[in-house]
């Protein structure tokens, strides 16, 4: 119990630091999702299964979806060559 809790806390804090220090915005969103996922397992260990379920579904799932859609609208997805969608967004 104590070892897995410590491991989860370390993973969570490292992912939170990665959110601040990563330059790539897609990687920052992925790191925020890792924070939510580790937090949901931590909630399960703290005997809060309903909160863990909500955190995994809403915090890690829906929040990442919203962030990814906003990244596309903001034009911050720098993952190589510009796709057709990026060109259309740019010309609009």
């Amino acid at each position: 119990m104590i070892w897995i809790t410590g491991l989860l806390v370390v993973v969570m804090l490292l992912a939170a630091l990665a959110v601040i220090f990563f330059n790539n915005h897609v990687a920052a969103v992925a790191a925020a999702s890792v924070v939510s996922l580790a937090l949901s397992v931590l909630f399960l260990l703290l005997k809060a299964p309903d909160v863990a379920m909500t955190e995994a579904a809403v915090g890690a799932g829906l929040s990442s979806l919203i962030l990814a859609l906003a990244l596309r609208r903001l034009g911050l997805t720098q993952t190589g060559a510009a796709s057709a969608t990026d060109e259309r967004e740019k010309n609009r």
Partner: protein
Amino acid sequence: MSMVFDLQWILYTGAIGLIAIGLVGIIWSRHLFRIILSLAIAEAGANLMLVIAGYRLHGHAPIMVAGVWPEQMVDPVPQAMVLTAIVIGVGIQALALSLAIRVKEAYHSLDIDEIRAAMQADIDAQAGVTGDLSQEEPSGREVIGPTVAAEEGRS
């Protein structure tokens, strides 16, 4: 007894660390999207802190099953509050992202220094102030704000 102290120490380190990292990110980031992400991190830390406050060592999950009495369960009230706070947090995040999209459409930038300079230029242009010409005295006739000048120009 040492194990009890260690577990609580680790948990509080995680919660306070998340809040501290989130606040540092909000203060030190220069990019609007990174500020929104840091806000989400700080929210997660606050939620963890509330769940820790209701935790009881060797307690059961607050679900009524045979053989488990309410005295043996962890406190379910902070868990209900955190359940609400998670959903509200995602709502706040969606609102902040929509505002960031509007800012990007209006000023074509997400750097807060550039946005602040552009907003200041807009306010100055509406108030009839011609920029920072002097450090000692106000450079324009109207220094109150944009609304007074806008009303005068309209009438």
